[in-house]
C-alpha cells in the first residue's frame, strides 16, 4: 500500500533575489527511497534543504510555497519540530568533534534537553548503531571520539545520530560523494534496508546510485522538475528528451 507522506507544492527557493528552484511540485511516498538527481547547480541540495527548513539558516535565503508533512504545512511549524521529525545526513561526515561515539549517537537528546534514563539511552545507542551497520565495528570503543573513525564509519555514525531521533523522513544530501567505493556500497545497501522504518530522500549526482538504491526518481534541471516517476520507468523509458540526454551522459 502506498501513501504520500510529504507533498511539495509550488516551492520556489533561492539566495539573494536569485531564484534557483522554480515551482516544484513533488510527492514523497512513505517507506520508499526517492532519489533527486540532476547536474550540479540544478538545485538538488536547495530542494532537500527546504524540506527540513535548513535552507533558511543560510544568510540571504529566500523561499515561497508550501510543503505538507501529514497535511500540515512545515513552514507554519517551529523549525526545530520539523527537524526532529525530518532528519538529515550531509555530504561530508560531520560528527561532533568534542563528543564520543556514544554521545554523538545520543546527541539529539542531549542537545534538545530531552531527559531519558541511562538504560534507555544505552538501548537507543545500540539500536541506532545496529540500524546503521556500525555496531559491530564500534561496540568496544563507544567512548572514544567519533572523529577517530574512518570517513565511511563517520558517515554511518551520522546516520545513526539521525536515526536515534526516530525521524519519519531521512534526507541524505549526496551522502557518499566524499567516500571511497567500498564505503559507498555499504551506505547504499544501508539506504535500501532502512526504508522499512523510514522514508528516505536521496540527493545524488551519481546516476547508477539512483538506479540501484531508489524506488522513485526526480530529475531536476536548471531549478525545474523535468520528470518524476518510478525509477525503472525513468531509467528505461524517459519521457523527456533532457532526462534521456542526462541519463546517457550527454551532459552533467
Amino acid at each position: 500500500m502506498e501513501s504520500t507522506i510529504l507533498k511539495i507544492r509550488n516551492l520556489n527557493a533561492g539566495y539573494q533575489n536569485k531564484w534557483i528552484l522554480k515551482d516544484i511540485n513533488l510527492n514523497i511516498e512513505k517507506n520508499k527511497v526517492t532519489a533527486i538527481m540532476g547536474p550540479s547547480g540544478c538545485g538538488k541540495s536547495t530542494l532537500i534543504r527546504c524540506i527540513n527548513r535548513m535552507h533558511e539558516i543560510t544568510p540571504g535565503a529566500i523561499f515561497k510555497g508550501e510543503i505538507y508533512l501529514d497535511d500540515k504545512n512545515i513552514f507554519e511549524m517551529p523549525p526545530s519540530d520539523v527537524r526532529k521529525r525530518i532528519g538529515m545526513v550531509f555530504q561530508r561526515p560531520n560528527p561532533f568533534p568534542t563528543m564520543s561515539i556514544y554521545e554523538n549517537v545520543i546527541a539529539g537528546y542531549i542537545l534538545n534537553g530531552i531527559k531519558i534514563k541511562k538504560a534507555k539511552m544505552d538501548q537507543i545507542v545500540e539500536e541506532s548503531l545496529k540500524k546503521a551497520f556500525l555496531w559491530e565495528e564500534v561496540k568496544d570503543t563507544l567512548f572514544r571520539k567519533g572523529t577517530f573513525l574512518s570517513g565511511g564509519q563517520q558517515q554511518r555514525l551520522c546516520i545513526a545520530r539521525s536515526l536515534a531521533m526516530n525521524p519519519e523522513i531521512l534526507l541524505l544530501d549526496e551522502p557518499t560523494s566524499a567516500l571511497d567505493p567500498k564505503a559507498q556500497a555499504m551506505i547504499e545497501e544501508l539506504i535500501v534496508r532502512l526504508k522499512e522504518n523510514v522514508t528516505l530522500v536521496l540527493v545524488t549526482h551519481n546516476r547508477s546510485q539512483a538506479a540501484r538504491a531508489s524506488d522513485y526518481t526526480a530529475f531536476l534541471y536548471l531549478g525545474e522538475l523535468i520528470e518524476f516517476g518510478k525509477t525503472e520507468k525513468i531509467f528505461t523509458t524517459p519521457k523527456n528528451k533532457k532526462t534521456e540526454e542526462y541519463l546517457t551522459g550527454k551532459f552533467g
Binding site: 527540513n52 535548513m54 539558516i57 526545530s80 519540530d81 520539523v82 527537524r83 526532529k84 532528519g87 538529515m88 550531509f90 561530508r92 560531520n94 560528527p95 561532533f96 568533534p97 568534542t98 546527541a107 539529539g108 542531549i110 542537545l111 534538545n112 534537553g113 571520539k145 572523529t147 551520522c158 545520530r161 539521525s162 531521533m165
Partner: protein, 278 residues
Amino acid sequence: MKMNKRLFKDFLFKKIVILFSIITLIPLFLILFIIVKNGVSAINIDFFTKLPKPPGEKGGGILNAIVGSIFLVIIASILAIPFGVTVGIFLSEVKNKFTETLKVLVDVLQGVPSIVIGIVAYIWIVKPLKSFSALSGGVALGLMMLPIIIKSTQEALYLIPFSLREASFALGTNYTKTILKVILPAGLSGIASGILLGIMRIIGETAPLLFTAFGNSFLNLNPAKPVDALPLVIFNYAMSPYPEWHKIAWGAAFILILLIFILNIIVRKVIKRWKVQF
C-alpha cells in the same frame, strides 16, 4: 663559473640568516642569565612565606606580593572572562556595521598605553571609593585582559566549520544550545589559551597598578584595601637605596619570569590536549 656564483650567494644567505638569529638571541639569553643569577640567590623558603622587613634588617620575604599578584589576577579574570568570551561569541556570530566598529574599538583598547588604563581605573574606582584598592587594580588589569580574550574567542570560534552548526540544527537543536554545547566546546582550546595568554600579559604589568593597587607591605585579601604585586615590588625595591632591597627585587623578577614560563608550558599543553579535530 656562473653556477658557482649562484651557489656562493645561496651559501652566504644561509650563513647570514643563522648569524642574525644568533645575534638576536644573545641579549635575550643575557637578560635571562642576569635575572636567574641575581634572582636565585635571593630565593629561600622565607622569601615565599614571610612579609618584608624594614630596611637595614636582614631576611623577610614577599609573601604579600605573591598573594597580592594572584589575588589581582583572580579579580581581573572574574571581571574579564565572562565579558570577553561573550563579546567574542557576539563578534564571531554577527557581522554588521556595529560589530565591525566594535572590532576596531577592541583593537584600539588593546593599544591603549597601560598607564592610561591605570588612570582610568583611578578615576572610575579609586576616586569614588576614596581609597587605593585591590578591586581598582583588578579592574585595570581586567581592562587589559579584555581585548586579548575577545580576540582569541572570536578567532577560535571563527575557525569552527559551518557543517558542525548544520549538524546541530539538523537534530532540531535551538540556537542557544548549539552555541553553548556544540560551538563553544569545539573552540575551548583556543578560548582557554587566550585566557592564559591574557594572564601572562597582565601579571607583569606595573603601570596600571601604580595608582590603583598601590602596594601594601602587609598581607591583604580585602578587595577594598590596597595590595602589593610582584611588578610593584620590583618597581619600588629596585628604586630604593638599600642593597638588600635590590636583592629582593631581583628575586621577585625571577619569580615573575618563572610564573610566565610555567604559564607558557600550560598554554602549550592546553592547545595540544584540547585541540579538536574536525
